[in-house]
């Protein structure tokens, strides 16, 4: 293997990426969320999404030859293995069965001669032998006969890696945040086994947010930001601080001045106080979070994906199972009950606008007015002394029109179905729906996810305006640090399911970057 060289041109997500990796070398790939790491790896692994979204430009060269992978199976035959962030293991199978899934050694028999290969019996002895060999290659001890569902997380991760290692043609292994779920000790063992693999001539691309691991094991570091490779240096010439700075630092031209410091609000009373909150949201687990929100401020919650920032609003609003105490305006709010939260004038704009946020096949009017009608009996006319409540179509139309104008929602009329709008406009409808509730406190989760720059600015401005004019306290959760710095007064960074620190928005990006990776587990 001579080395891999990749060039991608065009696409906004990834621009002009070049790097090479030699045989038996370990390359550390890091960058903020949305920097394009995953997309890059998906291209390399020939995932379906890439082809469905129009393919890519540029070349991938393996051993000096140009290759194109149309499916992950092509990539597999070319010797590329990938361990994904989410486990793809069969829970009821043993480690051995998972390691050799769909590549089981087989024995022929009379019936399979007649009815075809799939009736071959499995060769259990050979399976055991190969699985043990793969586990040995890793240099860790796991019980090959243990069923996956009863294994600790770390062993699951090792099983997954062993599966890739058991493929004889393996030349390049991509590990996407393999240590995210491991304990310190297990992570150590994994790093050791990565070194072992490299010594055997297998190249490794190692994606992680734990920077010290990169320094410990990699030969070379590639730092990505906004779809560019910002640095490609040998590990020996760098340090954690350097990498952090490269990860979050913006180019001088695109840097935005954080919003002017607002009048000191430190003395404002605390409107919501969260104590010892835990939330069991898959992939966004929250552990023991305590947080105070002051009246009238915009509090930002940031952090890397999967560290639990999304779990906080979802837990408080009762969409996922949660525990702890939440006090709002002096009264405690029962958890696990969305209705109670809404009754106490809290509102939530979910990050999942298509599933939770909108009634896609209903008109904008309905979408905007629905919650307010359900929760607060707004937009209803009483008839027969309140026996029958009638919808007040006029009022609904007026309020919808008001928000369509205010938020510049692009639509044909207020009767249009929500499904027909673009993502950015759908997001604005979600906001309008929350505004129509006239809440005292608003959670906004990932308000700019998947919308373009222009719409982003509008949405953020609308939020700011709503905060200033109506005095509503806003908690905004976003993966984009710059966006938080522009909008918020204070920013809390969540790392490893816990609050890593709260800083004023005027602090430099680097200090937030350091917090983001501080407690990553």
């Amino acid at each position: 293997m001579r080395g891999i060289k990749k060039d991608f041109f065009g696409n906004q997500v990834l621009t002009d990426i070049n790097f090479t990796l030699g045989a038996g070398q370990v390359l550390g790939l890091c960058g903020e969320n949305g920097a394009g790491k995953s997309t890059l790896m998906k291209i390399l692994f020939g995932m379906d999404v890439i082809r469905e979204t129009g393919g890519y430009s540029g070349d991938i060269l393996i051993n000096g030859e140009k290759v194109t992978f149309n499916t992950p199976f092509d990539a597999l035959t070319a010797g590329i293995g990938m361990v994904h962030q989410e486990f793809s293991l069969i829970p009821g199978f043993t480690a051995t069965e998972n390691i050799l899934l769909n590549r089981e050694p087989q024995k022929k028999n009379v019936i399979s001669e007649v009815f075809g290969q799939r009736l071959n019996t499995l060769d259990y002895k050979e399976m055991d032998r190969r699985a043990t060999a793969a586990i040995e290659k890793m240099g860790v001890e796991i019980d090959a006969k243990m069923v996956i569902s009863s294994m600790p997380v770390g062993h699951k991760q090792f099983t997954e890696i062993a599966r890739e290692l058991s493929k004889e043609q393996l030349k390049l292994l991509i590990l996407d945040e393999p240590t995210a779920v491991l304990t310190e000790k297990e992570a150590e063992a994994l790093l050791d086994s990565i070194r072992g693999m490299a010594a055997r001539g297998i190249s490794v691309i190692f994606i992680t947010h734990r920077l010290h691991e990169i320094l410990a094991v990699c030969d070379q570091v590639v730092v990505m930001r906004d779809g560019h490779v910002v640095r490609d240096v040998p590990t020996s010439q760098t340090s954690v601080d350097d990498i952090t700075r490269w990860m979050v630092g913006r180019d001088v031209q695109s840097a935005v001045t954080p919003q002017e410091a607002k009048a000191e609000k430190a003395d404002a009373r605390i409107i919501m106080s969260i104590k010892n909150l835990w939330v069991d949201m898959p992939g966004e687990t929250v552990r023991d979070v305590s947080l105070d929100v002051r009246e009238g401020e915009i509090l930002g919650i940031g952090g890397l994906a999967g560290q639990g920032k999304l779990g906080i609003p979802n837990g408080v609003m009762g969409l996922y199972e949660a525990g702890g105490t939440v006090e709002f305006d002096g009264r405690s709010i029962p958890l696990n009950s969305p209705r109670k939260c809404l009754d106490s004038a809290l509102a939530f704009v979910s990050e999942d606008r298509r599933e939770v946020g909108l009634l896609l096949d209903e008109s904008l009017e309905w979408n905007v007015a629905f919650s307010a009608m359900q929760i607060q009996n707004k937009f209803l006319k009483k008839m027969f002394g309140g026996l029958i409540k009638w919808r007040d179509e006029k009022a609904i139309h007026d309020v919808t029109q008001k928000y369509i104008d205010a938020l510049e929602i692009k639509c044909t009329s207020s009767k249009q179905n929500a499904r027909e709008l673009s993502g950015g406009n759908q997001q604005k409808v979600c906001l309008a729906k929350a505004f129509a509730l006239e809440p005292k406190f608003l959670f906004v989760s990932e308000p700019t996810r998947g919308i373009d720059v222009g719409a982003k600015a509008l949405v953020l401005d609308a939020l700011k305006q709503f905060n200033r004019e109506s005095g509503v306290t806003v908690v905004m959760i976003s993966s984009e640090l710059e966006e938080l710095r522009q909008t918020c007064d204070r920013i809390a960074i969540i790392s490893g399911g816990q609050v890593a620190g709260i800083r004023p928005a005027t602090d430099p990006s680097e200090s937030f970057g350091a917090l983001m990776v501080s407690k990553v587990i």
């Binding site: 793809s88 069969i90 829970p91 899934l101 799939r118 071959n120 019996t121």
Partner: protein, 372 residues
């Protein structure tokens, strides 16, 4: 992690609620029914030979994660159509049974293929789809048997046809092949007739199922059953695997229905298949199976318990109320009840597993440390 396997009375009760309930019912009813042990044993053995094959046909779709295959009734219909032909051609005895089985295969495969394809379009809702398929294909079956047979499809014998010249009589008489399998080798130790051949066939099928689990296809089915996405990512053709599992089940159900009907000696042309799926599924569940897990042991236990109840309940019913109908009433009522209970339990278990994650987190926090 303290995940030690300690005996938990509550869990045990919850996992085995249905079998325990049936054991209690049987124990209470047996003395009331006033039956001799010999008679009871004879009946149970007879019914085991008759029924087990049908119930075994349910195991493979459960393995492939497709739940309880209500669509097995389709196989039963195929078996009945084959039996009608064989009766019309007057091929008696064991050759008749074998021919009927062979004839049922192409029909079952065709129906199974259709059923499997539809189930692939409605993943996650296989059970309700299978149940509705019964009514739909039941209609087609009636069309074929009531109008096409005798008019389009040649039926020679007047004894099989309706007097008007086409269509099949409401009862098909299988006297000439009645219990031909059961009686071929039938020792009677202590007055209990043992249909040895039936049991041999059942044993062969059990061996087949055990062997099948060890094949590549069986392994693929288990993988597909547990996680379709992972299986697909590993390169297993998920849709095809699921269709094959339904086809195998349908073919076995066809054989099972033929064995079942040759034991009874006649069948009601238009209704014999309607309850097959439901009673078989109920029996399997009584044996302690669930929507996602079933073993051969569940089949045997289920048949014994389910049928013991049907033998003793009517007699006990007479003893208590003086009305034998109570037994039939019980049969239907209990079957639906058991299936409903099993489906509810399945959901409850899933939800309990889900909330366990939260409980662990809360505990970890209480203990003062962040969960590692």
């Amino acid at each position: 992690m303290k995940m030690k396997k300690s005996f938990n009375g509550f869990d045990f009760l919850q996992n085995n609620l249905v079998p325990l309930m049936f054991i209690i019912i049987c124990v209470i009813c047996y003395p009331l029914a006033d039956l001799s042990p010999g008679h009871l044993l004879n009946e149970i053995v007879n019914r085991m030979g008759r029924n087990i094959f049908l119930i075994l046909s349910l195991l493979i779709p459960i393995m492939a994660g497709m739940g309880l295959n209500f669509g097995m009734t389709l196989g039963a219909m195929a078996g009945q159509i084959a039996l009608i032909f064989v009766t019309d051609w007057q091929i008696w005895g064991i050759p008749g049974v074998v021919l009927a089985m062979l004839l049922s295969i192409p029909l079952s495969v065709l129906l199974g293929l259709m059923c499997g394809k539809l189930m692939n379009m409605a993943k996650g809702r296989e059970m309700i789809l299978g149940y509705m398929m019964n009514y739909f294909v039941g209609g087609l079956y009636q069309l074929v048997v009531l109008f096409l047979m005798g008019s389009v499809i040649p039926i020679i014998h007047a004894s099989v046809r309706l007097p008007r010249g086409f269509g099949i009589r409401t009862t098909v008489n299988l006297t000439s092949m009645r219990q031909c399998l059961d009686n071929l080798i039938a020792p009677r130790p202590y007055g209990v007739k043992i249909p040895v051949l039936n049991f041999i066939i059942i044993a062969v099928l059990c061996l087949f199922i055990i062997w099948f689990r060890r094949t590549k296809l069986g392994q693929d089915m288990r993988a597909v059953g547990q996680d379709m996405e992972v299986a697909r990512a590993a390169g297993i053709n998920v849709d095809r695997t699921r269709i094959i599992s339904i086809i195998i089940s349908t073919v076995f159900a066809g054989f099972g229905q033929i064995i079942y009907l040759q034991n009874l000696g006649n069948f009601a042309t238009y209704t014999a298949h309607t309850q097959t799926g439901m009673f078989c599924i109920a029996a399997l569940l009584v044996g302690g199976a669930s929507v996602e897990k079933a073993s051969i042991g569940n089949v045997f236990l289920g048949v014994i318990l389910f049928h013991t109840m049907f033998i003793v309940a009517p007699r006990a019913g007479i003893a208590i109320t003086g009305d034998a109908m109570i037994g039939e009433y019980f049969r239907v009522f209990v079957s639906y009840g058991v299936i409903t209970l099993a489906l509810v339990m399945y959901e409850i278990k899933k939800r309990r597993a889900k909330s366990q994650g939260g409980a662990l987190l809360a505990q970890a926090q209480k203990e003062g440390g962040v969960q590692a």
